[in-house]
């Protein structure tokens, strides 16, 4: 989905709050959230793609103002409700207040019907797909041309795996894009490498 989470290349943000000894956690409850969502994944209540997608489905104002671990908590709770472990009413009764959850999911999709195997050096174009459900193609590469630098082992296809849709595992390709291709005249000179699922790619004509 073209959601609020898809931040790569969005302009208008300020400085990164960086320090060399920055913490991963700032409170004990954050560690508890992190443990409980991974426990749920470990026990097969949901998978990582469902988990990521339930964060993306948060109402945009909630997404932007929630802390990282509040987003994690919201995904965990949303999936526990959707999987039938508990009702929202019961959660709110126990929490003694409103319990904001993510919005409903759109349907997923399976692999692209025709997928091509690529090799390092091949020029590829990211298909101009607009996907209602979960997708791991950041919008900033949509329709853009890059060069394959490597192939990964096969992974579950996220667009299907986040939705309980049957699909084959498929490789991702590390594709190298120049920032001049991604944001002409409007980016620092660099290459951006993105892990792109095979279904998202088509062969591009040679230069």
């Amino acid at each position: 989905m073209d959601g609020i989470h898809d931040l790569g290349g969005t302009q208008g943000f300020g400085a990164v709050r960086h320090s060399p000894d920055a913490k991963a956690f700032h409170a004990d409850w954050e560690k508890r959230v992190n443990a409980l969502y991974s426990l749920a994944v470990r026990l097969g209540v949901f998978n990582m793609d469902e988990y990521r997608h339930a964060i993306e489905r948060m109402e945009p104002r909630h997404y932007l103002t929630a802390s990282y671990y509040e987003r994690s908590l919201t995904s965990l709770a949303t999936l526990c409700v959707e999987k039938g472990l508990v009702t929202r009413d019961e959660l709110e009764r126990r929490a003694q207040g409103a319990f904001p959850l993510a919005l409903a999911s759109a349907p997923g999709r399976s692999n692209a019907p025709a997928r091509e195997r690529f090799r390092a050096g091949d020029r590829v174009r990211v298909k101009a797909d607009h996907v209602a459900g979960h997708v791991r193609m950041p919008a900033y590469i949509r329709g853009r041309v890059g060069v394959v630098v490597a192939e990964s082992p096969a992974y579950p296809f996220p667009d299907a795996h986040a939705h309980g849709v049957a699909a084959d595992d498929e490789p991702t390709y590390d594709v190298r894009f120049s920032t001049a291709e991604l944001w002409p005249s409007s980016a620092d000179a660099a290459f951006v490498h993105v892990g792109v699922f095979q279904s998202y790619l088509e062969r591009a004509p040679a230069d």
Binding site: A24, K31, L39, M58, E70, V86, L103, P138, S186, V192
Partner: protein, 197 residues
């Protein structure tokens, strides 16, 4: 209605978390026990010192470095480091005098956390996720790393379950140092690529 600003105030995050934990507990999932185990993992097992040891070994053992660059997951396993099952691939990115690599996850917060440690707060912040792919040199300069234009910058966006780790360039003044002493100078920031050593 889900997500719509509520007519009554939201419960605190702690109250919400307690509610979920009580549900998992009633389901027999033993969340309390797992929280204790996970605390040990995040505080003691999944730490940047792992990546630092990998780097120090690569700096002092050319054959190991070749294996690390060819198949990162198998090479770190030689040193006893595991990765979660869904991380099927570790790609190690070598910095040099000509090339600088930096990693990010624009869509969420993915990292090789068992090797380089759990991501620090700023890595997960909206600012880093939005800006590092488009304004890499500017962001790195703001973070204290001013790269000359002749160094090629490569940003790696972790959009799949392939994970990345930067292999920093070995500082010239460390000639003859022991592996242990070398490991001590490798920082988490250098494994992410927002610093050079």
């Amino acid at each position: 209605m889900a997500g719509v600003p509520a007519s009554r105030p939201a419960a605190s995050v702690e109250q919400r978390l307690d509610a979920i934990q009580s549900v998992l507990d009633e389901r027999g999932m033993q969340p309390g026990e797992f929280i204790v185990q996970a605390d040990h993992l995040v505080e003691e097992k999944w730490v940047p010192e792992n990546g630092a040891r990998v780097v120090a070994r690569a700096w002092t053992d050319a054959a190991f470095k070749a294996r690390l660059l060819a198949d990162g997951k198998a090479a770190v396993a030689e040193l006893g480091y595991e990765m979660p099952r869904h991380h099927r691939h570790l790609v190690v990115l070598e910095n040099s005098g000509e090339v600088h690599n930096v990693i990010c996850c624009t869509l969420c917060s993915c990292t090789a956390f068992t090797i380089i440690g759990l991501p620090p707060d700023w890595y997960k912040d909206l600012e880093y996720r939005a800006r590092i792919v488009r304004e890499s040199r500017t962001v790195l300069r703001e973070m204290g790393l001013d790269l000359p234009p002749e160094i090629e910058v490569r940003v790696w966006d972790t959009t799949a379950d392939t994970r990345y780790m930067v292999l920093p360039a070995r500082p010239p003044h460390t000639e003859g140092w022991s592996e242990e002493r070398l490991a001590a100078i490798v920082t988490r920031d250098s494994l992410i690529g927002v610093a050079r050593l």
